[in-house]
Amino acid sequence: MMRFSIIIVAMIAVLAVFMPFLLPWDYAQIDWDGVGLDIISQQAWQRGHYLGSDDIGRDRLARILVGTRITMSIALAAALVAMLIGIAWGVIAGWIGGRTDDIMMRIVDALYALPFMFIVIVLMVVFGRSILLVFIGIGAVEWLTMARVVRGEVKAIKSRPFILAAKASGASFVAIILRHILPNIMGVAIAYLMLTVPQVVMVESFLSFLGLGVQEPMTSLGILVNEGAAQMEINPAALLLPGGVLIILIISLTIAGERLRDRINAGGIARPDAGAA
């Protein structure tokens, strides 16, 4: 199941990156003579719109591929940002412990309780709509789970005697973090990175769907779903194609991440109980 999901994600990624170069039409290019072509019509095929064109004559296949590419790259970048913040926060809170840990985790709890999507929306409205902001905004809120998980792991590892033995060996704080803590939490961190990516895909598409994310002429899966939903009565393919790609992408990423997490938890140091998930 996990391998299958990873293959699907990889295939989607390869297609999204390379296939647009092979297509006759650019994603923003308007074909004045081929507006609103149906998905399997002879005319569409002849003009090189293999999946038809949208209501202002842009190639649907090219738009879906480029939208996927943008959605995925934003997701990866934001998830990496989230991982870095989460690891740093979790390691510091878990390592120092005590009052500092209390305060740091209370902040995470408080942020968890916030309707963060609304805050991202307010941020978007306030600072204008740019891709950079989209992913900073998303990355800044998606780190919470990572911070919790990493903190739990660090606390579990910290109480292990091999850390005390390292202290008795004269290892510095930095050496213990780099040589003992990080190698032992990396597996879990990567599993949660894989779980963050689909979350971010979801948030980015959500924002774009509301018209607050990526802006025209750039496109993303969320925008395409929004456009498709507006015309689904006449042209269901406009909704089904980008929606299908989005769902398959999110499901595959989630399955891969969950299986990886379960596999690591089964043999890992700390076994965060089910509530942490």
Partner: protein
């Protein structure tokens, strides 16, 4: 237990204030104001408008005024719906949002708990695998895709439910509630299944088995209650999920709920409206977290003393 709740309340208050002040400042310092429309207003008109809404006062005074008014339950006038106060808009939108949100949460709990129970009692069998795969798929379904898809299938193609809006026939709630509840149902399924798996492997279940209790008694009397703790702790995030999802769902189904007002307010820089809705949402989510705390004590008495 009382202490725990008092402590949570004590922590919730500053959180709520922080949200109010933060979002107020963000909106206030945003480039572009509510009166920067397409047609520039004359400086005098603009000044007069801003003064009538109190926007010319020093910022700290605005905050104090605002917080003071919120404490009295007054969110001020809306800037885009000029004839309405925010309170009136909330009074109009909240019942609709609460109706579909509440129903969605109930549906999600019903589906999630029963499917989780079935999966856990058939652990390792095919039905467990299938249900858990289904749970993963459900959590991965974005509401803004499932919403239109449900409309496409059940409203346009089959014609069972209205496409959008509300009518006298209550059937308009069905599709929005389903779309909203699916991802949450998936999450609850996973949490219940995992919680039960943990409980079923505990020593106290082995002792119950040693005493010859039947599997059904063991599951319901000994395992279920503590197994629901992770699901209860998901209540706060679930409420947040429902509220967030409602923004999209209300837009897709054309329902005049709070979520729609929020989006309209945000797109048009209607500070009082956006602040009012965010404050209300934050309050609701905090209330759900408190409810979760109360449930812990009932589900697992150990939590009362910790």
């Amino acid at each position: 237990m009382l202490r725990l709740i008092l402590r949570r309340l004590w922590m919730a208050i500053p959180t709520l204030f922080a949200i109010i002040i933060l979002s107020f400042l963000l909106m206030r310092f945003a480039p572009g104001g509510p009166f920067d429309g397409e047609r520039p207003l004359s400086p005098e008109t603009k000044a007069a408008l801003e003064s009538s809404y109190g926007l010319d006062k020093p910022i700290w005074e605005q905050i104090l005024l605002y917080v003071g008014r919120i404490l009295q339950g007054d969110f001020g006038p809306s800037l885009i719906y000029r004839d309405f106060t925010v309170n009136e808009l909330i009074a109009q939108g909240l019942p609709i949002s609460l109706l579909i949100g509440g129903l969605a949460l109930l549906l999600a709990c019903a589906i999630g708990i029963s499917a989780g129970l079935i999966a856990a009692s058939k652990a390792g069998q095919a039905i467990d695998e299938i249900l858990m795969l289904l749970a993963t798929i459900l959590t991965a379904l974005p509401t803004f895709v499932t919403g239109p898809l449900l409309v496409l299938i059940f409203a346009f193609s089959l014609g069972w439910f209205p496409v959008s809006g509300m009518d006298e026939n209550i059937s308009w709630v069905v599709l929005p509630v389903i779309a909203l509840s699916l991802p949450i149902a998936g999450a609850i399924m996973k949490l219940v299944r995992a919680g039960l798996a943990v409980q079923l492997s505990q020593d106290h279940l082995r002792s119950a088995r040693a005493r010859g209790l039947s599997p059904v008694k063991r599951l319901f009397r000994h395992a279920l209650r503590p197994a629901l703790v992770p699901a209860a702790s998901y209540l706060g995030p679930a409420a947040a999920g429902v509220l967030t999802g409602a923004v999209v769902i209300e837009t897709i189904f054309g329902l005049p709920g709070l979520g729609r007002y929020f989006v309209q307010g945000a797109l048009n820089r209607d500070y009082p409206l956006v602040l009012g809705v965010v404050t209300l949402y934050a309050g609701l989510i905090i209330a759900f977290n408190l409810l979760a705390d109360l449930m812990y004590g009932w589900l697992d008495p150990r939590m009362r003393d910790s």
